[in-house]
């Protein structure tokens, strides 16, 4: 299959599609023009820059630089996850960082060594691309999981107190919340997996096929990445909750107030 390249001139044509959202926004007074332009400019600049950056990274393909870049990606993901949770980053950064780091590395290194059988396990192309996909999904799961567990305890204190009064220690008292929050965090991933191929052709598959690979190979990649996403999301959500809770409760078992952002 031929690999069609897109010239920048051709790519410019795709920007003409913007006339549709902009036109509709103006016609229906949605006041979205500014937001649309802001997001489009940011997306384009970020992607062009990252494209150039990855080109050099792939060319260099130095193990330590690859790992360093993945670490930068993880730090960004951790900040973003905490920013979208009700928690202050100062209080929970370290445990969340550790849980992301451990789950992403374990999954990606496993895939690279046993599924893809790479000679160079820290090869930039695989470490960074697979790491990014796994990381993005773990981040989404963590936003749901971390928010849910701490918000539920904060907003339904009565029930939490009741469990303590029944004799539960902190671990036992948060257990029901952990159960329901992990389930909630995994729901989107499980739902996406269950409808995959029918409702949508997932991003990685689309990319692989457009890039010239056979659908068969694309499917194999997709199955591999979905299993990776599922396990790293589960692992990172569970670890994040388990590792943050010693920082979030006082010795009397009460949820600390100062872990939450000011409303």
């Amino acid at each position: 299959m031929a690999n069609i390249t897109i010239s920048y001139f051709n790519l410019a044509h795709s920007f003409l599609l913007l006339l549709i959202p902009i036109g509709l926004s103006l016609f229906f007074k949605l006041f979205l023009v500014k937001d649309v332009l802001y997001s489009v400019v940011r997306m384009s600049l970020q992607l062009i820059l990252i494209g150039l950056f990855l080109k050099y990274l792939f060319k260099l393909n130095n193990t330590w630089i690859n790992i360093l870049w993945l670490a930068v990606m993880i730090v960004t993901a951790v900040f973003s996850a905490i920013k979208n949770s009700p928690l202050k980053w100062k209080k929970v950064f370290l445990p969340v960082f550790f849980s992301f780091f451990a789950s992403v590395f374990i999954v990606v290194i496993y895939l690279n060594s046993f599924v893809l059988d790479l000679e160079k396990i820290f090869d930039a192309r695989y470490l960074i691309v697979l790491g990014g996909m796994v990381l993005g999904n773990s981040m989404r799961g963590n936003i749901v999981g971390l928010s849910s567990v701490y918000e539920k305890i904060r907003d339904n204190q009565k029930r939490y107190f009741y469990l303590l009064s029944l004799g539960a220690n902190v671990k036992e008292a948060i257990f029901p919340y952990v159960q329901s929050s992990v389930k909630l965090a995994l729901k989107p991933t499980l739902a996406a997996m269950a409808t995959m191929g029918i409702v949508s052709l997932p991003g990685m598959m689309t990319g692989t096929i457009l890039g010239g690979a056979s659908p068969e190979l694309a499917v194999k990649y997709q199955i591999m990445i979905m299993l990776g996403i599922l396990s790293s999301t589960t692992m990172s959500v569970v670890l994040s909750i388990v590792l943050t809770f010693p920082f979030c409760f006082d010795s009397g078992g009460l949820l600390k107030r100062d872990i939450f952002k000011e409303e």
């Binding site: 009565k158 107190f161 303590l164 004799g167 220690n169 009397g252």
Partner: protein
């Protein structure tokens, strides 16, 4: 005799003063009913005793020992507490039931089937309630379940915050009489119901006036 619970000059205030210089001694076997208009701090008092509120001033002693974050766990394990609007975690009630009696602190007192049956019969609670989902259980059933759990935990001190409010008259009388007649139990109850108040077996403390009512 050492009071099982003693409050010395306890002050609690948020935007407004909740209570000021509260002094209280409760001895083993006492039955005390707390009254006072809503917002006066009846529920807060229970939460202070259980260590759920700790930004108060003053001293609280439990069996002569000053309450701290370290010994609060031991204290909680001697108290059965029922909140005015008790609720259970999501899922089936039976899962919650299992959970309560599998907690490390409660493993030794797992009730026998017979004990459970006696309590359920006493509280006129059908076994089928255990198969319901927690959000399907009615207010009256929740109170009876909480009472069943509290009684089966075999603790000596009961903090009952409107814990019999949703029971019908006859059952309420039966349950209140039970608590008032158990000599070994120390019972602190927040209630305005006549079943608790019109009896010579309980002392009444008026939190609004900060004194015992005679």
């Amino acid at each position: 005799m050492v009071p099982v619970l003693e409050l010395r000059k306890v002050n609690l205030s948020y935007e407004k003063k909740i209570f000021q210089d509260l002094n209280l001694k409760i001895y083993p076997g006492d039955k005390v009913v707390f009254i006072g208009s809503s917002g006066i701090g009846k529920t807060s008092l229970f939460k202070i005793i259980l260590g759920f509120i700790n930004d108060y001033q003053g001293e609280i002693l439990f069996s002569g020992e000053k309450v701290s974050k370290q010994n609060i766990w031991k204290i909680r394990s001697q108290i059965a507490y029922i909140d005015q609007d008790v609720s259970f975690p999501e899922g089936k009630v039976t899962n919650f039931w299992e959970y309560v009696f599998s907690l490390k602190a409660n493993q030794k007192i797992k009730p026998s089937l017979e004990e459970r049956e006696n309590i359920f019969t006493f509280l006129e609670l059908p076994f089928s309630v255990l198969e319901k989902k927690s959000e399907e259980v009615s207010g009256g059933e929740r109170q009876r379940l909480a009472l069943a759990i509290a009684l089966l935990l075999k603790r000596k001190i009961f903090l009952l915050d409107e814990a019999t409010s949703s029971l019908d008259r006859k059952l309420k009388k039966k349950v209140v009489d039970y608590f008032l007649n158990q000599k070994s139990l120390t019972v602190l109850s927040i209630s305005h119901d006549s079943e608790w108040l019109d009896t010579n077996k309980a002392k009444v403390f008026n939190l609004e006036q900060n004194k015992w009512q005679i």
